[in-house]
């Protein structure tokens, strides 16, 4: 299969509230890739023909369309962008062990952290909510440890520069802020997750993130509407 020409057209199907679509946008910005952004206004109820055609198996955003091929799954897209546009900055680290570590923790975010967030949001009663909240606290404490080891005091999971693991983790911030607003409980706290607190501000302020990341208020308004809550 011939390497896709970097000059071929690039489109990204996403939705503004999706943490997963955000990952793809940050990656494309980091690599200064020009692309057309196609928003799915009601991706849960009314998927576009293009989305169904380009991601027939999962029918989910984000989908990156590069020339005549499509790439699905947010972390897969980020890796693809890093490899298809190999100019600096690199998104994944260069050393195989650091790469393996970054992939491991990114998977942890998808498998455990998002699952905990969903469990808190979907809990049926107070007992369930407390248990789910406890689990989320544990996950964030584990992520704090991972941050301390990975950042080596330099500010991002990727060190001096924003990298793969920052992109993977940064997308929990919107959902976490919503859960905090609904529950009145602070999950990211100075006492337990000091590294993540500082990192969160750096992440949100980064030039590759700021244009695309909804504010906490926007997320909250969206969540209230989605869950029919005042």
């Amino acid at each position: 299969m011939a390497q896709n020409d970097q000059n071929e057209t690039v489109k990204l199907i996403g939705t503004w509230s999706s943490p997963f679509a955000l990952r793809a946008r940050v990656a494309l910005h980091l690599k200064s890739v020009k692309y057309e952004y196609l928003d799915e206004p009601d991706v849960l109820n009314a998927k576009s023909e293009l989305l169904i055609k380009s991601n027939p198996i999962h029918k989910k955003v984000p989908v990156l369309i590069h020339g005549d091929v499509s790439i699905c799954e947010s972390l897969n897209i980020v890796q693809y962008v890093d490899e298809a546009w190999p100019s600096v900055p690199s998104i994944l680290p260069s050393h195989p062990y650091d790469r393996a570590n970054a992939r491991f923790w990114a998977q942890y975010v998808d498998d455990k952290v998002f699952a905990s967030l969903d469990a808190v949001g979907g809990a049926k009663d107070d007992e369930g909510r407390m248990a789910a909240a406890g689990k989320l606290m544990e996950c964030l404490a584990t992520l704090e440890e991972a941050f301390q080891k990975s950042s080596k005091g330099l500010g991002f999971f990727g060190g001096e520069n924003l990298g793969f693991l920052d992109i993977a983790c940064g997308t929990i911030l919107g959902p976490v802020s919503v859960i905090e607003a609904f529950s009145g409980v602070k999950f990211l706290r100075q006492e337990t997750t000091p590294g993540l607190i500082q990192w969160a501000e750096k992440f949100k302020a980064h030039e590759a993130v700021k244009p695309y990341m909804p504010t906490a208020e926007e997320f909250l308004a969206f969540a209230k509407k989605k869950f029919g809550v005042e």
């Binding site: 390497q3 699905c72 393996a100 992939r103």
Partner: protein, 235 residues
């Protein structure tokens, strides 16, 4: 061989913590064999209570764990990628083209999230209805993988083309559990008519020099399933 430019020392001691019935461990063994990496294999019978496992993988307490020097690498697909990136002599496991790599990664995630989940679903189903649903889902997975095989192999022998690659390893490791289910349910998941490509690929995969020495014996897997799954289909 020796030091790479990025500082990793391929001569450092390699250990693999594993368990013989695990398809995830099998993946890592195939990858190490493909790259002719000498390693010490350590069987962990009770990974949840093993000091080594808890020490090297405190987050998940699961095998496989590859320990290179003193650095642990966890999660089977992650380990396969690490092996591919660290030992550069020997055939590449992932393709070089970014799109082909993305396709390979996509299908291995699919295999874990859908195939393996369905395999497990058939084994642990509490009702006939649940089992039928899981069987149908697994059959659907096989259909998609047959299509993928046709597209990726392009008439050659493996998903990876002439040599086994990332999808071959990801899916091939599930063949043991699939064969066990075929025996107990009477359903042929890989079928000469419905999935002809896969049907013939299975024999090639099993015969591969990197796979043959480490593929668990089906008889032993059947016994293992009988003991592990307290479910009517395994009696």
């Amino acid at each position: 061989m020796g030091h790479q430019a990025n500082g990793s020392n391929n001569d450092e001691y390699v250990r693999l913590l594993g368990a013989w019935p695990s398809p995830f461990v099998l993946r890592t063994r195939i990858a190490l064999n493909l790259k002719h990496v000498p390693y010490e294999y350590l069987e962990e019978e009770d990974s949840l209570n093993s000091e080594s496992v808890i020490n090297y993988n405190p987050v998940h307490k699961q095998i496989p764990i590859l320990i290179h020097g003193n650095k642990p690498i966890r999660e089977s697909l992650n380990i396969v990628m690490y092996v591919d990136e660290t030992w550069l002599s020997g055939p590449p496991i992932l393709p070089s083209d970014p799109f082909d790599r993305a396709v390979a990664r996509f299908w291995d995630v699919y295999i874990d999230e859908h195939c393996f989940t369905s395999i497990n679903g058939v084994a642990v189903a509490k009702t006939e209805e649940e089992r039928k649903e899981a069987i149908a889902k697994l059959e659907q997975c096989m259909g998609l993988l047959e299509e993928t095989f046709q597209e990726c192999s392009k008439g050659r022998g493996f998903f990876g083309g002439d040599n086994i690659g990332f999808i071959d390893i990801g899916f091939g490791s599930m063949l043991g559990p699939i064969k066990v289910l075929e025996k107990f349910t009477g359903v042929k998941f890989i079928h000469p008519e419905n999935t002809p490509g896969l049907f013939h690929w299975v024999d090639r995969f099993y015969a591969h020099e990197a796979v043959k020495p480490v593929m668990p014996d089906i008889g032993k897997l059947v016994q293992f399933a009988r003991l592990k799954f307290n479910s009517s289909i395994f009696k």
